[in-house]
């Protein structure tokens, strides 16, 4: 049951990314090009998503449990620390170089685009590298992560 639901949610999310324009790198780069010909469309993606999300998250918090009876597992960490800022900086540079963030990269692989596959495989390698470094330094566990 759960695996079917999450498949459908992945599908809806993937179609949403396509409809919003985020699977097209030129569209994303047009949004990031604030100093040139700026295409503000992606601000509307964020607005639409967060408008729905605000309602859902406040409702879920008040309810305390999910409709399937599970506990909510929200990130517990609240501290604004160096890894958060440095990691987001590094991510932003990669995003600006390519116009691709993780979700759209995977959807573009679904379009059977080999360049997207190069991106996603490199992304996976980057994640494993970060994990190896974090493990050797005995850092954070998975549950502390935001998303």
């Amino acid at each position: 049951m759960r695996v079917v639901i999450s498949f459908v949610l992945g599908l809806v999310f993937g179609i949403g990314l396509y409809v919003s324009g985020m699977t097209q790198p030129s569209k994303v780069l047009g949004f990031l090009d604030v100093f040139g010909d700026w295409d503000p469309s992606l601000a509307f993606v964020m607005a639409g998503a967060v408008a729905v999300g605000l309602v859902a998250f406040s409702f879920a918090r008040r309810r305390g449990r999910t409709f399937l009876g599970d506990e909510l597992r929200l990130p517990r960490i609240t501290e604004i620390d160096a890894p958060l800022v440095v990691g987001s900086l590094i991510f932003g540079i990669g995003w600006g170089l390519s116009g691709i963030c993780p979700g759209p990269g995977i959807v573009d692989v679904g379009f059977l685009d080999w360049r997207a596959l190069v991106f996603v495989v490199s992304m996976a390698a980057g994640m494993v590298m970060e994990r190896l470094i974090a493990d050797t330094r005995g850092a954070k566990s998975l549950v502390s992560r935001d998303g």
Partner: protein, 143 residues
Amino acid sequence: MQIDWTHFTPWTSLAGGVMLGLAAAMLILLFGRTLGISGIVDGFLTARDREFCWRATFLLGLLAAPTALKLFSTPTPPNIDMSWMQLTIAGLLVGFGTRLGSGCTSGHGICGLSRLSPRSLVATLTFMSAGFVTVYVVRHLAS
């Protein structure tokens, strides 16, 4: 700054955003999990726990989205006009950065802002600013 009106698509982008919000809403209301793609991919790659199956099928859903779109329309495929070297470097940075920073555009940008997390606000402002500066350097300084 000048607005690029020819490519501006406020309504479809808003509609797509609402779909992203709906998927995130269902995931928190049904599973109690935040929808963060980088976290789901990372968990899929490194964790062999009871979360593995839903993560795997979620990613399959993402991969299947273009096929589903082709059933009732003719979607425009992505036009990724970059060398494999540039893609490799960008991919490594995105993978490493999203894990060090604990989230990406979905986990911090959509879910984090939706739950009014100060951490996610800082992360979102940081990666957006880094994206703005990077595009500025690549398009207006380097060329």
